[in-house]
Amino acid sequence: MERIPILRMGPFLLITIQVDMHDKLALQLQDDVTQRISEWGSYGVLIDISSLEIVDSFIGRMLANIAAMSRVLGAETVVVGMQPAVAITLVELGMSLPGVRTALNVESGMELLYGTLGVRPWGTGNDGNEA
């Protein structure tokens, strides 16, 4: 079955949505993310939507659901990379993604997660230890 891959990066989950989402795929992703958080004890979820050409209320609801479910499981979610035309359309549609943290790109999204959780990014510490 078709699935959106979830990468594990230290304490975080990294998801890049690159396909045109349909219902089953979205529901599968919600299941998979919550499963991974509980299995790996992840603190943060970063969802990159820079490849999405549209975000309609269905996908918006899926993002809000993932953020809410993750929060209940103790993980923060950041959605990054929204295209400007998508942002304009989404707000006009009446959806400003309340409850979902956003950042311009993957880098600032990661900083946000590290900042929120007070976890130091590995590789940038002075102790030279690999996480």
């Binding site: 045109d20 349909h22 219902d23 089953k24 050409e53 549209i54 975000v55 309609d56 209320s57 269905f58 918006g60 609801r61 295209q83 400007p84 035309a85 998508v86 304009i88 359309t89 989404l90 006009e92 549609l93 009446g94 959806m95």
Partner: protein
């Protein structure tokens, strides 16, 4: 039959091109979006306008599927008096919308959604009309001018 319209009076519109697509499964919604994008590109809509139109199409196609139990979308490239545009018509033979005014309000839903589909897509297009009859079905027409 109940009707609600914003624009879409009886002004002359010449149809330049027309195609119909079934909306029976959720992958039909994906296909419909791609087709609308393709035609919007053909008409050289700006990126923001393309995005608005495709998003509106996605919302309305989903409504056709979820509330109308499936139906079809008709795409037309139309010429108005001084401009061209893309006209989309979503037709189903579902239960109909008992109270159109209420259904257009943000947050109104009888299903599991957020209730943004109708009211939201109305804001993404230039002209919008709903015709609905209880037990017979619903027809939603939208136009975005270039």
């Amino acid at each position: 039959m109940a009707r609600w319209a914003l624009g879409l009076g009886e002004q002359a519109m010449t149809v330049m091109k027309r195609e119909m697509f079934p909306l029976q499964t959720s992958s039909d919604i994906v296909l419909a979006r791609q087709k609308v994008r393709q035609w919007a590109l053909e008409l050289r809509f700006s990126l923001v306008d393309q995005t608005k139109l495709v998003t509106a199409a996605s919302e309305l196609a989903r409504n056709t599927l979820d509330y109308g139990h499936g139906g079809e979308m008709t795409m037309e490239i139309v010429n108005g008096t001084a401009k061209s545009g893309l006209k989309l018509t979503f037709t189903d033979r579902g239960p109909g919308i008992p109270d159109i005014e209420a259904a257009l309000k943000d947050g109104f839903t009888t299903g599991a959604g957020m209730g943004l589909g109708l009211g939201g897509s109305k804001r993404l297009v230039n002209e919008f009309s709903i015709e609905s009859e209880a037990g017979k079905g619903t027809k939603i027409t939208v136009v975005r001018w270039k």
